[in-house]
């Protein structure tokens, strides 16, 4: 592939992060990993990913705060974000929607296959 898309995974749970990483590498993506919100913010600023998959409950900085900061930076405001979390709290869904994030997925209810499909749709690859 001449034009590899870069995916940033922000997820504190190593097993889950690695599963997603391996799946997307296999799907032909360049994958960057971040272990907490702050790392996620730094990586997206320095490496300009095409899309971000992000957990909500994380150490240092939570996912919605990261999303909020990214939305305020012109260079990154339009990078699609997919939220992948364990909880679907109403306030969080509302906040994500207000930040223009429509993809709010519960981890255990989402297969990797579905995740790949959504990411590809977001990047117009499907």
């Amino acid at each position: 592939m001449t034009n590899k898309k870069t995916l940033l995974i922000v997820e504190d749970e190593p097993a889950l992060r690695e599963a997603i990483r391996d799946k997307f590498i296999r799907e032909g993506f360049a994958v960057i990993e971040a272990r907490d919100g702050q790392e996620g913010l730094d990586e997206s600023r320095s490496k300009h990913p095409d899309i971000v998959i992000m957990d909500l409950v994380m150490p240092v900085l939570d996912g919605l705060s990261v999303a909020e900061k990214l939305r305020q930076e012109p260079a990154r405001a339009n990078v699609p974000i997919v939220i992948l979390t364990n909880l679907s709290e109403n306030e969080q869904v509302d906040k994500a929607l207000s930040l223009g994030i429509n993809d709010f997925l519960v981890k255990s209810d989402t297969s990797l296959e579905k995740l790949v499909k959504i990411v590809k749709q977001k990047l117009n690859l499907a």
Binding site: E13, A15, L16, A19, I20, D22, K23, R26, V57, N86, L87, S88, E89, N90, E91, V93, V106, K107, S108, D109, S111, L112, E113
Partner: protein, 823 residues
């Protein structure tokens, strides 16, 4: 004299007296007002005319002030060169006095060559031109002469021959040098038979240095016109006006014209005695009583005035003539009214008092016992009527006297009868008293019951208050103190919900709504209310407030409020919610890990796997999937039980939701070879529903149908607006119906009542699908109940089951919860 006569006489005298007093005081009052008006009006007129005189003099002054102040080149250069010339002389005073002597020694009309040079210089010609201009304009020699001296007082140029050459020793010259401007008081000039003023002005060059003095004479006859105006403007025939100098000389009077400034009459002079000057007075002048008004000169702009006064006089006869007419009329009126009162008095005494006296005598005769006497008055007036009425009264008294004796006898009989009746009534009363005694003992028993009831209320663990219709607390039980910290005696008499006692922590809107519901809608209300205890601790109560409505008037008489402290229960609920959140997080992470890794292995990402390996891993994946479902179901159950799940309605197409749910069971349907049929009505309106909740309902109904139908069976689903089964629904609302039928195993009779119970599973269901959670229908019913809908079913063992869910067409009501249910 009779008293009545006296009274009338007194009234007549009083009326006459008050009439006279009224006349005198009115007269006095009107006279004062009239005087006041006359005085004020005249003062105004006189002040104004005096001001006009000042303004005229000012304007004459202005003619020349502008001339000497405008740096006139001829004027200034003549004076400067004359001053320089004089400056070069060895002895200026000597020169001037020599010239002055020769000037005075010349004949009256003789003009020496020296004089001639001063009378024909360019400046002299200019002065003449100016004088001619003004004289022509005013039609008389208003300024007969004008001349200019240099700064040493010697004449430089003049319009005509002057008496002296040296003016420096003149009073006007010195004053104008000092003050810049001098206007003399009026002077009578015998030779010209005119009154005039001297106007002199100091002349300064452009740099402000004193260079000379200007002087002119002003024939002031023009100001007399102004004084004359008073006479022409007024209608008063006796009016005269006098212009008087400050030292009491008469300048001009309207009647005599101007004279040689003779001393003014004493009356006019008296106006200048004392400060401030008298404004008006009444005095005798030339043998006539006159009314005088004085206006004193105030000056105008830089002209400070000459201290003159303008005095106007009228004959008092003329001024007060109007008042006299008024007086005469009053006298006439008083006289007429007086005569009228006297005539009235005579008439009254003839027609009223005399017959009244006669009638009085008649009464005295009858009083002495002569009932056969009659009044002889026959007149046709009220007194005649009175006499006739009196006569008939005497007749009826005579008649009644004889009948009274008969009546007394009859009434004695009646009284005897009545006393027997009273005795009977007394016996009846005694009987009633016995009854009352019996009822009293019943009341005591009732009171004992009430006492028990009171004790129960007083000792109840719920906080109970009774208030009047305005919310003022009438009763509070002991629990009030346990819950709020305030004793019953502290809250009684206060308004319920009082900020100091309850904290007022809820929105204002809440209290308004609460009051509206219980007071105006007269409906009981249940609510959770956050309050504050005496010690500042916050607490939550479940409150129930019931209005007690008077059956007759339909008005609220009391409110009964029962509050239960649910603070601890709320805390437990919160802990439970937090536990569920934590557990779900902790459970979902490992479940996701298993799900994703098995998924990758099965997808061949780790390389080829053999059949046996695939089978084993699929088993892991299935079991994991069931665990995920279970966690979701438990999570939803706990949210439903906590009442914290949200309802967020949006426009929903029910058929579309059903299609999505069908897709989810597609795998099972294909595996079991089930037939799916749709039987929906064609036009189903878009309804305002929560899509997640609606999806959970359809998902459960359809997946149950798929689970409990044997391979090859049929599932029929429908969204309907009307159906025979809907007949049992309440008629006050419109519903949309979800109907799911299967040809499955049916629900056994013993399970029918328990089918919606949490974790309950019927035996046949357990055997067909060992992994079910027993939560699906429980969840479904909970959601339907929350959405104010209905759920029911029809079933037959081994034939099939039909589930019906009716949702209100008006949609679900929005509810802000904190948790969305997982689908």
């Amino acid at each position: 004299m009779k008293i009545r006569t006296k009274i009338i006489l007194v009234i007549a005298i009083m009326a006459t007296l008050s009439l006279v007093a009224g006349f005198v005081s009115t007269n006095y009052f009107i006279r004062n007002i009239f005087m006041e008006i006359t005085r004020d009006y005249n003062i105004l007129v006189v002040d104004n005319q005096m001001g006009a005189v000042d303004r005229i003099i000012y304007r004459r002054l202005e003619c020349w002030k502008s001339y000497v102040n405008q740096n006139n080149p001829v004027l200034i250069s003549s004076l400067v060169s004359s001053n320089q010339e004089f400056g070069r002389l060895d002895n200026i005073e000597d020169y001037i006095s020599r010239q002055d002597k020769s000037w005075q020694s010349s004949g009256k009309d003789e003009v020496t060559p020296f004089m001639s040079s001063l009378l024909s210089s360019p400046l002299a010609l200019e002065l003449k031109d100016r004088i001619d201009f003004y004289n022509k304009e005013y039609g008389y020699d208003i300024f007969p002469e004008a001349f200019v001296t240099n700064k040493y007082g010697a004449i430089v140029s003049a319009s005509g021959k002057t008496t002296d050459y040296n003016q420096a020793d003149e009073d006007w010259w010195q004053r104008s040098v000092q003050k810049g401007l001098y206007v003399s008081d009026i002077i009578f000039d015998e030779s010209t038979n005119s009154n005039s003023l001297i106007i002199s002005l100091r002349i300064d060059d452009g740099a402000g240095n004193f260079v000379g003095v200007f002087r002119t004479t002003y024939d002031s006859r023009d100001i007399f016109d102004v004084v004359k105006e008073i006479k022409t403007e007024s209608k008063a025939k006796s009016l005269d006006a006098y212009l008087v100098t400050s030292d009491g000389r008469l300048i001009y009077s309207v009647s005599d014209g101007f004279g040689n400034l003779e001393i003014a009459p004493e009356v006019l002079k008296s106006f200048f005695e004392g400060e401030p000057h008298i404004k008006d007075k009444i005095a005798v002048l030339d043998g006539a009583k006159k009314f005088f008004v004085q206006g004193h000169s105030q000056g105008y702009k830089y002209f400070s005035g000459l201290g003159w006064s303008l005095i106007v006089s009228y004959d008092t006869d003329e001024v007060f003539s109007l008042l006299r007419v008024l007086n005469n009329n009053n006298f006439l009126t008083v006289g007429l009214i007086g005569i009228f009162i006297i005539i009235l008095f005579f008439l009254i005494s003839i027609y009223v008092l005399k017959p009244l006296g006669e009638l009085n005598e008649d009464v005295l005769i009858i009083e002495r016992g002569n009932l056969n006497h009659h009044s002889k008055i026959k007149s046709k007036d009220e007194i005649g009527d009175l006499a006739r009425a009196f006569n008939s009264l005497v007749d009826s008294v005579k008649k009644s006297r004889s009948s009274i004796e008969k009546q007394v006898e009859e009434q004695t009989k009646d009284i005897r009868l009545k006393s027997q009746e009273l005795r009977d009534q007394k016996d009846a009363m005694l009987n009633i008293l016995e009854d009352v005694e019996r009822q009293k003992s019943q009341l005591v028993a009732l009171a004992e019951d009430l006492q028990k009831f009171r004790l129960a209320v007083a000792e109840a663990s719920d906080h109970i208050v009774i208030t009047d219709a305005e919310g003022i607390i009438l009763y509070a039980n002991k629990a009030v103190e346990e819950i709020t910290g305030f004793s019953p005696s502290e809250v009684i008499g206060k308004k319920v919900g009082n900020k100091e006692l309850w904290g007022g922590l809820m929105d204002k809107e809440f209290y308004v709504q609460l009051w509206k519901t219980i007071k105006f809608d007269k409906k009981p209300l249940k609510a959770e209310i956050n309050n504050k205890r005496r010690n500042g601790e916050l607490y939550t109560v479940s409150a129930s407030i019931t209005p007690i409505v008077d059956e007759v008037t339909d008005e609220v008489k009391f409110f009964v409020g029962i509050e239960r402290d649910i603070t601890k229960e709320k805390a437990i609920d919160k802990a439970k919610t937090e536990f569920v959140s934590l557990a779900s997080h902790q459970l979902r992470t490992p479940l996701s890990t298993i799900r994703w890794y098995t998924e990758m292995v099965l997808a061949g990402d780790m390389g080829e796997i053999n059949e046996k390996q695939r089978k084993y891993i699929e088993e892991i994946d299935n079991a994991n999937g069931r665990m995920i479902d279970l966690v979701n179901a438990l999570l939803n159950t706990s949210r439903i039980e906590l009442g914290t799940f949200m309802i967020a309605p949006e426009p929903v197409d029910l058929k579309q939701v059903a299609q999505q749910a069908l897709e989810e069971i597609q795998e099972k349907v294909q595996k079991k070879g089930l037939i799916i049929k749709e039987d929906s009505d064609p036009d189903i309106p878009i309804t305002s529903l929560d899509p997640r909740l609606t999806h959970i309902i359809l998902q459960n109904l359809l997946s149950n149908a798929a689970k409990y139908t044997l391979p090859g069976g049929t599932i029929t689903w429908a969204i309907k607006m009307s159906d025979p089964a809907m007949a049992k629904l309440p008629k006050d609302k419109k519903y949309v119906l979800i109907k799911v039928s299967d040809t499955g195993v049916g629900i056994p009779p013993e399970a029918v009542d328990k089918i919606y119970s949490k974790l309950y599973r019927a035996d046949n269901a357990r055997s067909m699908d060992p992994d079910g959670t027993g939560l699906g229908l429980y969840l479904t019913k909970s959601i339907v109940d929350n959405a104010k809908g209905r759920i029911w079913f029809e079933t037959e063992i081994n034939k099939g089951t039909t589930f019906y869910v009716a949702l209100p067409l008006s949609g679900m009501e929005e509810r802000k919860g904190t948790k969305a249910l997982s689908v």
